[in-house]
């Protein structure tokens, strides 16, 4: 389908706060994004919308409903109760679902990620826990792209290439249940679910602060086994252009150029336009 016909729902409730820059990322690429309030999808609004009218769904960053219980917990509970079935169908039909930062936390809370035992597992299989530093960490991070195949969100990124995309979160440490950590990780690796790992500028294994949260295996982003649901902690929408990317003053290149975040939005739209 044509790029301009690709409808992207950027979903929000009170406390999501990265929706405008996320919306702009799709808009700048020529797609047809819309900021949609959860209430619009559940019919409690004077402007109702239906999930099936969109070709991609994005959960932007923020602090949905304050994140007072656990990051993403309230948003996901509300989605599950009102929209669960529509969402499963949406994913199973192959449409891409992208969650960034708080959106990643929501996808994990929903059971869409890592999704080892089904499209949307009844209980969360993992958690994005409080950073090891016990502080909110806003800092540039460097990601190594390690997904080999089925790259719905990263087809324009080479295997092993490094991308500088900033992080900003207090709960970003990807953790699996202790007793099943090893087998689940093995399964995720086998399924080619790990997309991004935090690394040092030279590409070697990251420690704090390059891994800002203490994630196992330096995991920064993963997909579901099918590859069409991706969550990541760093914010590609903040690095859409070079001008908002970290450290551009040290590398005099044209600022009209795209930043490293561009690849993700562009890959996603490419996938939709090819597939649907």
């Amino acid at each position: 389908m044509d790029l301009k016909d690709i409808r992207v729902a950027v979903l929000r409730i009170e406390g999501t706060n990265c929706e405008e820059e996320s919306f702009l990322a799709f808009k700048r690429l020529g797609a047809d994004p819309e900021m949609v309030h959860l209430k619009q999808l559940t019919g409690d609004s004077s402007h109702p919308r239906k999930l099936k009218d969109y070709h991609a769904l994005m959960f932007p960053g923020g602090f949905s409903a304050g994140d007072y219980v656990r990051a993403g917990a309230i948003f996901s509970a509300r989605i599950k109760s009102s929209l669960g079935r529509d969402l499963v169908r949406f994913v199973e039909d192959g449409y891409p679902v992208l969650g960034i930062c708080n959106g990643f936390q929501i996808l994990v809370e929903l059971g869409l990620l890592p999704g080892l035992s089904g499209t949307m597992t009844g209980r969360a299989e993992a958690v994005l826990a409080t950073n090891d530093s016990n502080r909110f960490e806003c800092r540039p991070t460097i990601l190594k792209h390690v997904k080999r195949g089925n790259r719905v969100f990263t087809e324009k990124m080479g295997y092993g290439e490094l991308f500088t995309i900033p992080s900003a979160h207090a709960e970003g440490k990807f953790v699996l249940p202790e007793d099943r950590e090893k087998e689940m990780l093995e399964e995720m690796v086998k399924n080619d679910q790990i997309v991004f790992q935090y690394v040092k500028p030279d590409g070697t294994k990251a420690e704090y602060p390059f891994n800002p949260n203490g994630s196992i295996l330096n995991i920064a982003g993963i997909t579901n086994p099918a590859g069409n649901v991706m969550g990541m902690m760093p914010h590609p929408e903040r690095a859409f252009y070079r001008s908002t990317s970290p450290n551009w003053t040290r590398h005099p290149l044209p600022l009209e150029d795209f930043g490293d975040g561009w690849y993700i939005f562009s890959s996603l739209l490419n996938y939709v336009s090819r597939r649907f």
Partner: protein
């Protein structure tokens, strides 16, 4: 409470008449004390006189409302006459609305304006640092939103006692600086990050005169299409007042009168109820809903509930629209049953806005707010005339002439300036300069503020083109100013900086305040921003003390003199008096938020050194100006001479430096401030992970330590692009500016010589350990 003073009305809710008509001076004073409404005796007499003419007593609602409206915090009764003669009325073509509202509005480009507000949240933060700071952020956001603007950046200058202050010497009822800093940063982080506006600039200053009265100043910058600028007034008779946002409760009662009195030992227990409770997750949709209503043209006027709550908002909106108003107070949604009418009227509960809407738009506005899950209720209307009438369950509880109500008193209080008597003492020249520089780098005012800055989301909204921390990936570096690119299809930017050095103003409020403007200009210019407007938050002690008021007059005179000379206007501000500690007033602290306009953000420069073998220059002149310097504080020197600003030189330097940046001749720029040249060079080297070898002999005949650590104003260190040295020097000569070539970048050591004498030779790694480590060590 003396029952003769308060007569209960025969209604089913709490309502009292305050018996002023029969009260003598003593009784008036007692009533003032018992009601905590904040009136002094003169004001009590004025209230009594007004009601004597009406032939009745005021209700508690009326009485409390006047206390709010006439507080220093609300009506600037002391400061206004002084500010009129100092910082107000600086004409500039960019002025759209300056000083007239709580936020200033200035031209950004043909279609857009930017909005700036800065205010204090000192007393609440000293009592309850987390809630105080958080609600400070909430309040300043509303100030920008009610102009119709989208907030794009937050700033937060903070002032505490030393983190090393001995715990057992902290006075009773006072909280230790470590606890305060931690709570305040948590509050700003949790509110600012949640509401999704980047915190991009600020300062953290430590000085023991803030023990017992820390300062938390908060600022916000917004952007608005000119056609959507909204005023805080009704459009005429018949506008409907719509109350929107959070419910009203008993939190934040007497916030403004609390802000207009000294803190004392029992403030903690007595005044906790004056600290409001913030809720960023109500605020965030409230902002969206208000801005959407503005964009759709449904709103005639809008104002936030700040100090004084409803009582301040409604009257002013009506009066400024040339109207009176009628309010049904029982329609205001409350957090609990049984909140008395006077409490509803003056509560400072957070996350509330007032909209004035034409009757035909009311339904549309209510539906829009419902879609955002934000409560919105019509509570009254504007009417012909000049009276404000409030009913509660059909009983009239307030009826006042609006001009009397909002026309607070103005005082010409006595003031005198007391020049400081400082014994000059030059410290011994350091035997070991390496050791001295390391001492400076771990001094808490100079040490890296990464611990604070990384906790604030400074990139949300994806428009922060120059970040507050500027360094090679993974390292730390203090930038001079941050830059936001607020408009999608424009390369124009807003540079943002905050500064005041209270060590200078303590010695010399006039010249010290000039330095605050100078440093803001230096910071803005360093990234490529042309100084365009200032906002001020004037934090001082008790103005009833003539010497404190003398400092205030001197300080604002200094601010006004520089800004007027540069034709850069003050757009908005706030006065915070009564910042007193057990040891007297805080240092004069006129916090300045500087906004610079960047023509093309692609030319912005950062402070980190970048390329091996590039020339390092110093632009500006260095004098023996050691008063208030961190070096003297550490080395045991004393001087009364705060640095001075040469106005002509400042003006020319701004032009010259901007020209250099525009011509793309420079790789890095940083201004020396606390710790002088030594610290500034170290910061640039640490941020870029690139050493330098420089020689100070060309600075003249001063002692080496003075050359290295003097805090003279209007100076920049510049790394010049390879091969551009000639053009660089020609440009500076054409502006008649002084400059010196200091040396060259390179290596992993910072080497500083004075002729044949090698003063400093330190590996970057060693400097980084102390500079980056200090705050982490102290804060955990």
């Amino acid at each position: 409470m003396n029952p003769d003073h308060y007569i209960k009305r025969d209604v089913h809710f709490p309502l009292y008449d305050i018996n002023l008509l029969n009260a003598d001076d003593e009784a008036l004073q007692t009533i003032a004390d018992e009601t905590a409404a904040g009136h002094d005796l003169n004001e009590m007499k004025r209230v009594k006189e007004y009601f004597t003419k009406l032939g009745r007593n005021p209700t508690d609602v009326e009485f409390q409302a006047l206390g709010q409206a006439w507080s220093e915090h609300s009506c600037y009764k002391t400061s206004k006459p002084i500010l009129k003669n100092t910082i107000f009325n600086i004409d500039a073509p960019q002025n759209i609305l300056v000083i007239k509202e709580d936020a200033g509005v200035l031209e950004f480009d043909d279609e857009h304006a930017y909005v700036v507000a800065l205010e204090s949240h000192n007393h609440p933060s000293a009592i309850e640092p987390y809630g105080g700071a958080a609600t400070g952020i909430g309040g300043i956001l509303r100030d920008v939103v009610w102009m119709g603007a989208q907030p794009v950046a937050l700033v937060d200058p903070l002032f505490f006692g030393s983190l090393d202050y001995p715990m057992d010497e902290v006075p009773k009822g006072v909280k230790h600086p470590t606890y305060l800093l931690s709570g305040v940063v948590d509050g700003i982080r949790d509110y600012g990050n949640r509401v999704g506006i980047p915190t991009v600039a600020g300062q953290v200053t430590f000085h023991n005169s803030y023990i017992g009265n820390c300062l938390v100043n908060v600022g916000c910058i917004g952007i608005v299409e000119k056609k959507h600028i909204i005023r805080s007034r009704v459009s005429g008779p018949g506008d409907v007042f719509i109350y929107a946002g959070g419910r009203t409760g008993r939190d934040g009662i007497h916030g403004v009168t609390f802000a207009s009195a000294d803190l004392h030992e029992e403030s903690d227990t007595e005044s906790r109820g004056a600290v409001q409770l913030g809720d960023p997750i109500t605020k965030e949709p409230l902002i969206h809903a208000c801005l959407e209503a503005v964009e759709k043209g449904l709103v005639s006027g809008m104002k936030d509930f700040g100090g004084g709550g409803l009582s301040s908002v409604v009257g002013e909106m009506a009066l400024h629209g040339g109207c009176g108003c009628e309010i049904e107070l029982d329609r205001v949604p409350t957090k609990e049953e049984g909140v008395a009418p006077w409490e509803i009227w003056i509560s400072e509960s957070q996350e509330r806005m007032m909209l004035a809407v034409r009757p035909e738009n009311v339904e549309k506005v209510l539906r829009l707010f419902a879609d955002w899950d934000v409560e919105a209720v019509p509570i009254g209307r504007s009417v012909v005339g000049k009276n404000i009438t409030i009913t509660y369950c059909n009983t009239k509880v307030l009826e006042l002439d609006l001009e009397f109500y909002t026309g607070g008193p103005e005082y010409d209080r006595p003031y005198e300036f007391a020049p400081r008597d400082v014994q000059e003492r030059m410290p011994e020249e350091p035997a070991d300069y390496n050791e001295m520089l390391l001492k400076l780098l771990c001094e808490e005012n100079i040490a890296c503020k990464g611990w604070v800055v990384h906790q604030y989301d400074h990139e949300v909204r994806g428009k922060t083109v120059i970040k507050p921390l500027q360094a090679k990936l993974g390292l730390e570096g203090h930038g001079d100013a941050a830059v936001i690119k607020p408009v999608e299809n424009s390369w124009k930017g807003l540079a943002i900086s905050c500064d005041i050095n209270p060590r200078y103003t303590l010695l010399d409020p006039y010249h010290g305040s000039m330095c605050a403007i100078d440093e803001n200009c230096r910071n803005l210019v360093a990234v490529g921003g042309r100084p365009h407007s200032f906002a001020d938050c004037l934090n001082f002690g008790n103005p009833e003390n003539p010497e404190t008021l003398g400092d205030f007059v001197e300080s604002t005179r200094g601010l006004g003199d520089v800004a007027r000379f540069l034709s850069v206007p003050f757009s908005s501000g706030n006065v915070s008096f009564y910042n007193e500690t057990l040891n007297g007033p805080i240092p004069p602290t006129p916090t300045i938020l500087g906004i610079g306009l960047v023509e093309d953000i692609r030319k912005c420069v950062t402070s980190d050194m970048k390329v091996e073998d590039e020339a390092v220059y110093l632009v500006g002149q260095t004098f023996e100006e050691m008063g208030g310097s961190i070096y003297y504080e550490i080395a045991g020197g004393c001087s009364g001479d705060a640095p001075m600003v040469d106005l002509d030189n400042l003006k020319n330097s701004i032009e010259g430096m901007l020209d250099l940046i525009d011509k793309e001749l420079v790789s890095a720029v940083h201004d020396p401030s606390e710790g002088g040249l030594g610290v500034a060079l170290a910061e640039m080297a640490l941020a870029g992970d690139l050493g330098a070898d420089v020689d100070l002999s060309a600075l003249g005949k001063m002692r080496s330590d003075i050359k290295l650590f003097s805090e003279s104003q209007t100076r920049w260190i510049v790394e010049v692009r390879s091969g551009k040295e000639g053009t660089f020097e020609r440009v500076l000569n054409s502006y008649g500016l002084s400059f010196l070539r200091l040396g060259t970048t390179g290596g992993k050591n910072l080497i500083i010589r004075d002729g044949k004498k090698e003063l400093v030779n330190l590996p970057l790694k060693r400097m980084r350990e102390v500079w980056e480590g200090t705050l982490h060590e102290k804060m955990g």
